[in-house]
């Protein structure tokens, strides 16, 4: 007697990335054969009329967010990205059947196509900027572009409540000054890289030390030039430490989810 569980072979489709249709199928088939997905699963394509999803057949309970799985997942997308324009899919999208994948593709065809056009032939770089020193404020005042004028305190410290408030006011003014500085820095970066025509995403003041986290989408093939340009930009800011990574597939430049996260921060 075969136990019931053995009869229910629930294999689902983990979606890795979305490619435009048509593509050169032979190299794609070769690539998918040469690589495997998470848990050594086989990779295959599922297509609608206009799009191709790269999927791997998995038992969905195996799709846990482990480092090993996430790395295997990222590797697949990275390999695909070397040859194809694609949109990476967030880890964990598992569909019940091929038909489910097709209907997903059909449901969002227009947006996905537009998105694919936007990222066509472009790659992503990430630039993080860190204050050199731990205690940022005392070094901040001397920085190029930092506001020099002192705003007077609004009332005297003649009670514990007022003293407390003045403390808070000072803290908030410093923070606002730092935010302004970081925004200026973002603007300067935009101008500096204008010849690359990048699309930018900025995160201002991720922490008091990590004052700027910039992601840029730039035409493929300019990696050396980008590194050179950033290196020169770094020279102007001896009190900041830059970390540039890439090139990455366009994870940060997808339009779905559609909740305004596609907008550039001020």
């Amino acid at each position: 007697m075969v136990p019931m569980q053995a009869l229910i072979v629930d294999m689902q489709y983990l979606v890795y990335a979305i490619l435009p249709f048509p593509v050169q199928f032979a190299p794609l088939a070769e690539l998918l054969a040469a690589n495997h997905g998470i848990g050594h699963s086989k990779l295959e394509t599922v297509s609608s009329a206009e799009l191709i999803a790269i999927t791997g057949k998995v038992n969905h309970q195996k799709v846990i967010s482990s480092t090993e799985n996430a790395l295997a997942y990222a590797r697949v997308i990275d390999e695909l990205f070397r040859l194809y324009t694609l949109l990476p899919v967030r880890y964990g999208t598992v569909a019940n059947s091929r038909e489910a994948v097709v209907s997903l593709l059909k449901k969002h065809t227009h947006q996905l196509h537009q998105n694919l056009d936007e990222v066509k032939n472009r790659e992503e770089f990430s630039l993080k900027m860190l204050w050199k020193h731990e205690g940022s404020y005392q070094y901040f005042r001397g920085q190029p572009g930092a506001a020099k004028k002192e705003v007077p305190i609004p009332f005297p410290a003649d009670s514990p409540q007022k003293t407390y408030l003045l403390q808070k006011i000072r803290k908030h003014r410093q923070e606002n000054a730092l935010v302004d500085y970081a925004e200026q820095l973002a603007n300067k970066l935009e101008h500096w890289l204008v010849s690359f025509h990048p699309t930018f995403r900025f995160k201002i003041m991720v922490s008091q030390r990590l004052i700027l986290d910039a992601t840029m989408l730039i035409k493929k093939g300019y990696q050396q030039d980008v590194v050179q340009a950033i290196s020169c930009f770094q020279d102007r800011y001896p009190d900041l430490h830059f970390l540039l990574t890439g090139p990455w597939p366009p994870y940060n430049f997808v339009k779905l989810p559609n909740d305004g996260t596609g907008q550039k921060s001020p």
């Binding site: 967010s65 482990s66 480092t67 996430a70 590797r75 990275d78 770089f125 993080k128 860190l130 050199k132 609004p154 009332f155 009670s159 514990p160 409540q161 007022k162 407390y164 408030l165 808070k168 006011i169 908030h172 923070e175 606002n176 730092l178 935010v179 995160k203 201002i204 003041m205 991720v206 922490s207 008091q208 030390r209 990590l210 004052i211 990696q223 980008v226 590194v227 950033i230 290196s231 770094q234 430490h241 830059f242 970390l243 540039l244 990574t245 890439g246 990455w248 921060s265």
Partner: protein
């Protein structure tokens, strides 16, 4: 297991990777910490989540209050009362942290200014 191809993703690093690594982990941004979260800590995890949200509210209130004070339209009495309220809120938060044995780092409080949220 197959050997990894050498994908050199770090293109430029002026400074040390150590400080970047430290900062990313400190501000609780490391995806690694989520992955390694111990399911046995479910209870303290809930307190942590709740207090993180409470602290976020407190910081938002504080920021809006200070903006109003700086706006110059409050009377001296209103300013005093605002100061008193904010002091108490902060004291209450400290109590809660002590009760649940949580530090600022636990609450991912080191998030920097809330400029983006307002």
């Amino acid at each position: 297991m197959e050997q990894d191809k050498n994908h050199h993703k770090i293109l430029l690093n002026r400074g040390t990777l150590h400080e970047f690594d430290k900062e990313i982990k400190k501000i609780g941004q490391a995806a690694l910490t989520r992955i390694n979260a111990d399911p046995a800590n479910a209870d303290s995890g809930l307190a942590q989540l709740v207090l993180t949200l409470v602290e976020l509210i407190r910081k938002l209130i504080e920021k809006q209050a200070i903006q109003r004070v700086e706006g110059g339209s409050l009377t001296e009495e209103e300013i005093e009362r605002l100061g008193e309220t904010l002091m108490r809120l902060e004291m209450k938060m400290e109590e809660l942290k002590k009760t649940f044995n949580l530090t600022d780092n636990d609450l991912n409080i080191n998030l920097g200014p809330l400029g983006n949220l307002l």
